[in-house]
Amino acid sequence: MTNGDYYQLLKLLAPEWTVVGTVLAILFADLQFWRNRSVAWRSAGAASILSLGFAAAAGLLIWKRAVTADLLGGTLVLSPTSQYVKLALLGLAIVTAWLCTEGEFTKHVGEFVALIALATAGMMFLVSTENLLMVFVALELVSLSLYVMTAFNKRSPRSAEAALKYFLFGGMAAAFTLFGFSFLYGLTGSIHLPTIAAKISWHAGDPLTLVAIVLVVAGFGFKIAAVPFHLWAPDAYEGAPAPAAAFIASGSKVASFFVLGKLLSVGLPGVGGSGAWKAFSPGWLAVVAILATASMIFGNLAALAQSSLRRLLAYSAIAHAGYALLAIIGGSQPALLYYAITYAVTSVGIFGVVAVVENRTGNEDIAGLAGLRERSFLLSVALSVFVLSLAGVPPLAGFFGKFYAFAAAAKLGSSLGYWWLVALALGASCVSLFYYLQVLKQVWVAPVPEGQGKVAGGWVVSILLALLALAVLVTGAAPELLIRFLK
């Protein structure tokens, strides 16, 4: 490995270096210059530095968007699609950072925003690799940052409890993943996904292969909150500070779905087995189909009973993980990425509204949204757009994401073998309309409670929310605008 190779590596990783530099810049500025400023000032300052740094990284990504590279045995694999996904991750992180300006949950804002940036760096590495070691290390970087972010509200016991549960569960999941990776390495002698793909098909019937698949899928199932690895999600969504919950719900999901999809389709194509109706055979298709079924059913049923808005969002996230898994089953990366990215944008938007409402009214329940139409027209419209997108109502992004994922799953196999899964997904969507309409009912139908004044977020947050809502509408009405970047 000559020095020239490392220099090329440096150039290709310029966006990631910029992000890491931003981490240091935020910490430095916060420690050195802003010790005596108010928390609100410091969070705005930290968010600004992050925005500038990430804008620079985004610029580098756009400048080099046509790059393709495959270095160091798959440790760094770049393609235009991965660059665009990184752009989306940067955007989500910027919005999350600005959400920190809504309300004061910690004095250590510099560290919190720096953690957001660190997690983003981890996600960027996660989507640019086809090497198991890199996947593991990047995954852990993301996870550890998120655990700490969840615990950041030191005044709230729920925050600490949520973080502990998230961490313990996540640690187990990481161990499962590592154990699964060790078997993949053992069976194929390589940690490079294409090499694994070439050699694993010799072991197609081996029980050890199935064990490896189940362990790996279990580990990633935790990250995307699929049943039965979802137990951390409701508590984490409820206890974490709003920006942390927003980032868990958005950025980490995008990266995790991307990597899971890549792992299964690039790394394990020969051992898919089948989950088709009356043609069941062991393999990851079957495992993922089971996960998807359980997630859709459980997520929607549990969401029906919720009165807390955040827990409802958590269970809806579980259900959406199920829908997105259909895209993985269908083997369509564009469908998966479209779904994940639009879902992430919607999630970050909803948590933005939640952050503003909780900050101004202190109420976390769905009933706390009552009469929002009078108290903030912008928030009402934005929330309606996000919620209807989650429900899958056209012409919003959520509809097309579901359509694309369901069509991909329907196309797989001969003669509509996965019809049962698509039918289940459609039925689950219908059930979900009920609880989403309950949320909108509070906003638009319920009478305005006495003595409640106007609710308005900071102007940056309001602009960002409006932009996000517009993005959801535009990518839903004209999906091609987004899809052509993801092919």
Binding site: A160, E161, L164, L168, L178, A305
Partner: protein
């Protein structure tokens, strides 16, 4: 029973013990110990497959283990910090005590 099988058996046992500990223990630190056991079982797997696999010259297995150990250490650090956070609120590191969120 080849040496490889022996090592795999031990690592499977370690994993099982770790999992059992993680699932049944009430003290958060002991759950963390269980997680660490599971991670080390995976490390043992990597080393066994590396040593008795077809390509022991490529240091892939060892490299993975080194990184995994470092990551596990970082995870333990974060985990113990979280346990301290819980302790500050609940005066106990018992996972059953810190269970206010339901449903």
């Amino acid at each position: 029973m080849t040496p490889l099988h022996g090592y795999l058996f031990v690592s499977a046992l370690l994993f099982a013990v770790g999992l059992a500990g993680a699932l049944t223990r009430r003290n958060a630190i002991l759950v963390l110990v269980g997680v660490e056991l599971m991670l080390n079982a995976a490390n043992l797997n990597f080393l066994a497959f590396w040593r008795y696999g077809p390509n022991p010259e490529a240091l892939t297995g060892v490299m993975f283990v080194l990184f995994a150990i470092a990551v596990a250490a970082a995870e333990a650090a974060v985990g113990l910090a979280l346990v301290i956070a819980i302790y500050r609120h609940y005066r106990s590191s018992n996972v059953d005590e810190a269970a206010t969120m339901k449903g």
